[in-house]
Every structure is written in C-alpha cells, then in structure tokens.
C-alpha cells in the first residue's frame, strides 16, 4: 500500500467513467441553465453544484425556487429525491469498512449514481483493486465535469433568448433517467401514478404537487408489488 497516490487503480476509475461523461456533461449544462432561469447567479449555481452535487435534486430545487415555493417544500422535495442514495451508502459501505473515518467521510461526499454503479461492479469483478483509488478516480472525474458543466451552463443560459425554451432540456434529462428506471411492472406503475398525480395536482398550493406525485407513486409501486406476490 506504499505506492504513489496516482496509480493504475485510480486511472482505471478515470478511464471507466469517461464514456459516461457524454450523459453527465449535458446534464451539468442543464443544471447551469436552470440556475440562471431560477434567478440564481454564478456563485449560487456553482455553490449548489459543489455543496449538493446531486443533479436530479438540484434541478427540482431550482424549479421550485424559481416558482417561489416555500423553503420547506424545496428542501423536502430534494431530500426525497436523494433518499435513493441511502441504498448506495449501505451497499458500498462494506467495501470501505477497513478505511479510516476521515477517508470514508471524504469518499461519502462523492457518492453518486454513476460512481456507485461503476465501483460496485468493479469491486466484484476485480477484488485486487485498491478500492478507494478506483472509486476516487471515477467519482472525482464526475465531480470535475459536473462543476465545469455548471459554469458553462450559466454562461450559455444567460446568452440564449427565452423563446428557445432551453429549460425544456430539464424534463428531457429526467425523461432520459425515467425510462430505464421503469424496468418492471411495479416500477412502471410507480412512474405512471407519480406522473398522473403530479399533473392533476399541479395547481396545489405551496407547490406540493411534485411531493404528492412522488409519494403516491411510491405507494402505487408498493401496492402493485404486494398484489403480485
């Protein structure tokens, strides 16, 4: 374990994550554009990408902030969206158990859908790898691209006329994530119910439509699962 910091394992993480950047870069760009649209400046946009560093929740929070939703609704909605990372944290925890408290605290900050999925697959396939280096190579690359993309999005978003409807890219990003997430009957029902309730509840006070749709969708998925078994 006395080898240098930048080694083969770290570079393997960087290499394996690079094809995913084709999806991450436009996503980050949209996060920057959405920040401008919500009335945020460069400092807040980058502050959000650094402090939150979770795309879907950032876009939802920006949309709600732009509509002047109450802070509790903005924060609550973002928290529900990020709850899925509880699963990632539990699943990757055994792989990091041997590391010190500080290193684990740092690795946790960089946890994302992509870094999690890549790393867990690699740890299973290649037990010889230095796990934290591989994970860091993948996760830190995503972080860097995310920040650069956000800044580029702020610049682009400020320069393009509203008529082009660039913020329409936000639901398109979600759509690209939604389709593969509906992979069986219960998850499809969860999506259909969540979407339908959110549309019907769009006029709800306090912008609670999104939260109501999300909770009804989760309930519908659970009911479908229970009925099948």
């Amino acid at each position: 374990m006395r080898d240098s910091f930048v080694n083969e394992d770290l570079l393997a993480g960087v290499r394996d994550v690079s094809p995913l950047m084709l999806g991450i870069a436009p996503f980050a760009l949209v996060a920057g554009i959405a920040a401008v649209d919500a009335g945020l400046g460069l400092a807040e946009a980058v502050g959000m990408s650094v402090i939150v560093f979770a795309g879907a929740s950032q876009l939802a929070a920006l949309e709600l902030l732009g509509e002047n939703a109450p802070l509790a609704v903005v924060v609550g909605t973002a928290a529900v969206i990020n709850l899925r990372m509880l699963m990632y944290s539990a699943s990757i925890a055994p792989h990091f158990a041997e590391y010190g408290r500080r290193l684990r605290a740092g690795l946790a900050y960089l946890l994302t859908d992509q870094a999690y999925a890549l790393s867990v697959a690699e740890f299973d396939e290649n037990p010889e790898r230095s796990r934290w280096r591989y994970y860091l190579g993948a996760a830190a690359s995503l972080w860097v691209v995310w920040q650069i993309g956000t800044v580029a999005g702020v610049v682009v978003g400020a320069g393009v006329p509203d008529a082009w409807g660039l913020t329409f890219a936000v639901p398109l990003v979600f759509l690209a994530l939604l389709v593969p997430a509906m992979k069986d009957r219960p998850t499809t029902v969860a999506g259909a119910a969540g979407g339908a309730v959110a549309v019907a509840a769009a006029g709800l006070p306090l912008n609670l439509g999104l939260l109501a749709g999300a909770l009804c969708g989760i309930a519908a998925g659970l009911v479908t699962e229970a009925m099948a078994s």
Partner: protein, 118 residues
C-alpha cells in the same frame, strides 16, 4: 423579490436551500458508510419503498412539464411540449442515451414552436 439584480446580489433564500439540501444529502450519503459495523444494512421495510423512489419522483418531475390540463382534450394534446416529450421518450427508450434524448426533444420542440404551430 430580488428585483432586477436577482441572482447578482446574494439571495439568502437560495443559499439557505442550498446549504440545507447539501447537509441532508451528505447525511444520506454518509449514513451507512459511517455506521458500518453497527448497522449492517437497510432493513427490508425501508428497502422496499426506496425501490420506487426513482420512477415515482422522476415521473412527477417530468409530466407536469410536458402536460398542462386544459378545458378540451384537443388543447391538452396539441401541445408542442407533449409532442416533443413523446418523441424524446421514444428515443430514450430505444437508445438510453441522455444526449440523444435532449437533442431530439429540443429539435422537435423548436420545429413545432417555430414552424408547425407558428
């Protein structure tokens, strides 16, 4: 409420939201990584609903941006956003590619906004 300088002057509302969401999200990320050994996994009762968070949340985010309920069915369906969303959804399903989805969705939106419905 931030006026013409909105975003340029520091807006406490946005910063409070950013810091609160950041703190909660970090807590979620750190949870089991920190507690490993004391709590070994997510209990099944928590795990089951978590499986439905991504499809439910994403659909609730997407659909209201594509569909606005109007008095007539025709007015609800003849919406450039819904048409662009359906085309992009088909591309997402066939390719599972974020970039291709955004590109076809935006081009379809512009086609209907600036040419077909113009």
């Amino acid at each position: 409420m931030t006026g013409a300088l909105g975003g340029v002057v520091a807006s406490p509302r946005a910063w409070i939201a950013i810091v609160a969401i950041g703190a909660i999200t970090y807590g979620i990320r750190l949870s089991f990584i920190h507690l490993f050994g004391r709590i070994d996994g997510v209990p099944t009762r928590v795990q089951r609903p978590l499986r439905y968070v991504p499809p439910a949340v994403l659909a609730a985010l997407v659909l209201p941006d594509l569909v606005t309920l109007r008095p007539s069915v025709a007015a609800t369906l003849l919406d450039e956003r819904l048409i662009a969303g359906l085309v992009a959804g088909a591309v997402a399903w066939r390719t599972e590619n974020v970039f291709a989805t955004i590109a076809t969705g935006m081009v379809t939106l512009w086609m209907f906004r600036f040419v077909v419905f113009a």
